[in-house]
Symmetry: C2
């Protein structure tokens, strides 16, 4: 498939298509029209056709989409046709939650290392992975093929460890720390700012939902 620039908004929606198609696949549905998908996903059918047209014509007039084919193609676009080695820096509850999330592994994201700054956690095992100290990071990254680092530690630690990751060749950071990260242009950061998500919820609760309350 030819590569071309895809808008951020479409990229954001792709994982949701992937999730719905995965559910359909599990339910042994072989094909689906954009109208049916539209009803399920609560998105207009024309939006769906437009989004999926970005990747060439997966759909056929009068037939709809082949679920398995579309699922696999979107998976490839998302980079899920390969595996990634991921390390988690910050082995508190959130880091351990990520390490225990078996679904990531099923998608090809293998957690191969856990790190922390707290010496009391040194050597503790989570799902068979021993927690290491942060000063072992450079050597660990050099010796293993690490592609992704998840940051589940407080802001000061996240700011301190980011340049170390970048210097040692990490090109993808999944950032849960309550801060933005300054990285070179060839390093990708995906933020999960939980407190900002919670603030959006409270905004919406006060302005859209719960009028009666």
């Amino acid at each position: 498939m030819e590569e071309h620039e895809i808008s951020k908004a479409v990229v954001k929606r792709l994982p949701r298509y992937y999730r719905y198609l995965g559910d359909l696949l599990e339910a042994k549905v072989e094909r689906i029209s954009s109208n049916e998908l539209s009803d399920m996903m609560n998105v207009t059918a024309s939006q769906i056709r437009q989004d999926l047209n970005n990747f060439g014509g997966f759909g056929q007039q009068g037939y709809g989409y082949n679920v398995k084919y579309l699922y696999n193609e979107i998976g490839k676009i998302l980079g899920l046709d390969r595996t990634y080695n991921m390390i988690i820096i910050g082995s508190g509850h959130l880091g351990q939650a990520l390490a225990n999330y078996v679904k990531f592994e099923k998608r090809g994201f293998r957690v191969i290392g856990l790190f922390d700054v707290n010496p009391r956690l040194e050597g503790v095992s989570v799902r068979g992975i021993e927690i290491r100290m942060v000063d072992e990071l450079p050597q660990f990254i050099r010796e293993h093929q690490v592609q992704i680092a998840a940051l589940t530690l407080p802001k000061p630690g996240a700011l301190e460890v980011t340049p170390v990751l970048v210097e040692n060749g990490i090109r993808a950071i999944w950032n849960f720390a309550h801060t933005d990260l300054n990285v070179p242009k060839d390093v990708v950061v995906q933020n999960v700012h939980l407190s900002e998500s919670l603030m959006q919820l409270s905004y919406n609760l006060n302005h859209i939902g719960g009028k009666g309350f």
Copy 2:
């Protein structure tokens, strides 16, 4: 302040303004121009002026923004000038991570209940909060003023518990389960789909960053 419709995109950006203003406040900065804020936040100054104009003219020509005033006003808009009682349903690592996150409490989101379906967790305490069984939910919601429910349990449980929450008056759901939720229009759902975030990261790693890899 007069209420008017604010676009979703602006609402999404507000918590980030709030975070930066909070940092400035902590650093005892009293006022800031849109240009300075623009440099810090990596957003154009005109975007900042446009966004903040949504809430009336906080800025003054030649003076810039009063940090404390703007911080407080955005806080009010986000609904952070009041407190919320939150329950967490699903007391695994992720639920416990949320329960342990003291920053939420500082912002006015008080975790007052933890629930699970696993009888082995019954009575276990997290930060002084006893884990209850899910069948106690209706009574608990009736007896306490619960405004927000966080769902940190797997998809089937999340789908099962959602109607129970809605029936008992919950109007805001913070959903971490790997599914969309069907709720009435006056109920607000804020999704945190971790695996979708991870897929965006892998897309970007393959298409934008890490070209050399």
